[in-house]
Amino acid sequence: MKFRATVQITLRPSVLDPQGVAVRAGLQQMGYAQVEEVRVGKYVQLELEAETEEQARQQVDRISDQLLANPVIENYHFDLVAV
């Protein structure tokens, strides 16, 4: 079976996100003063073959933990759908 996983990677709350701070400054210049916080993350889409959804889930989890995210500074979560 073929699955599509969408992985979202975000900096841990304790890690400073200067990109987010810069985007917030831009938004404030545009007049969106109500935006209090911006955090910038990454989005990765994967397509993979697996026999079951559970197997696909385990693989994506391992891939995310080993390469896509660095657990020292980032968190991740993903959604999985059969295609």
Binding site: L16, P18, N70
Partner: protein
């Protein structure tokens, strides 16, 4: 004694290092392509600066899985000497050979400048030629050099004296203004607990040749060569 310099696709400072180790110090130096699975009898391994794999995903994240990294890991575990400079430091943290991570500079700028560094740990092979508290002036060139680790790890690094160099001012003081990229505790370089693996963001190899006006970084390599020759 042989020095091996690991070259990933996108590495661009390997010749700067070889110019010092072989050109200035006369130490046999070879380049190790990342697809190699052994270190070709290198006694000391250096991971130089650059942009391995285009810095895609995260700096050093993909290089970590290059075939040669398995050999680098085994070399480090046997107590072999490893130095990571700039991108090489990022690769070592991604590989878990050094704790923590390097994240984007506090002010978002790519910093290409000269900085003062205060020597902290002078017991490592690379820093024996200096004395603790000494201030040196060397170049930096990085966009992701802000050192981060959780509070327990930072505490452990400090307790074990694993901080090798800190960003400081010319007097060796560490005001916030001297912290160019926002690194926790001004950390510019660290070593592992055993002391054989060292990583730093600045480029001592670019401040070695007296002909270029500043050789503050030379002792980094001179100390290593002298020491290594003594026991081979």
């Amino acid at each position: 004694m042989k020095i091996g310099i690991v070259v990933f696709p996108g590495t661009n400072r390997e010749r700067d290092v070889a110019q010092v180790t072989e050109g200035l110090l006369g130490c046999p130096t070879q380049f190790l392509w990342h697809q190699q699975t052994d270190l070709s009898d290198s006694d000391v391994v250096i991971l130089p600066g650059g942009f391995s794999y285009g810095d895609y995903l995260r700096c050093g994240a993909v290089a970590r899985f290059s075939p040669i990294m398995q050999a680098v890991r085994q070399h480090a575990e046997r107590g072999g000497y490893v130095l990571g400079i700039c991108n090489g430091f990022q690769v070592l943290t991604e590989a878990g050979l050094l704790p923590g991570a390097l994240v984007r500079n506090r002010d978002l700028k790519f910093i290409c400048d000269w900085v003062h560094l205060r020597l902290e740990n002078t017991r490592s092979l690379w820093t024996r030629g200096y004395h603790a508290g000494q201030v040196i002036y060397v170049p930096v060139a990085h966009g992701e050099g802000c050192y981060y680790a959780d509070p327990d790890t930072i505490q452990r690094l400090e307790d074990n004296q694993q901080v090798v160099v800190r960003y400081s001012d010319a007097q060796g003081e560490c005001p916030d203004a001297a912290n160019i990229n926002g690194s926790l505790n001004h950390i510019a370089g660290i070593c592992n607990q055993r002391g054989n693996v060292v990583g730093l963001m600045p480029h001592p190899e670019n401040a070695c040749d007296p002909a270029l006006g500043n050789s503050d970084g030379l002792k980094f390599f001179e100390g290593m060569v002298t020491e290594a020759l003594a026991f081979t």
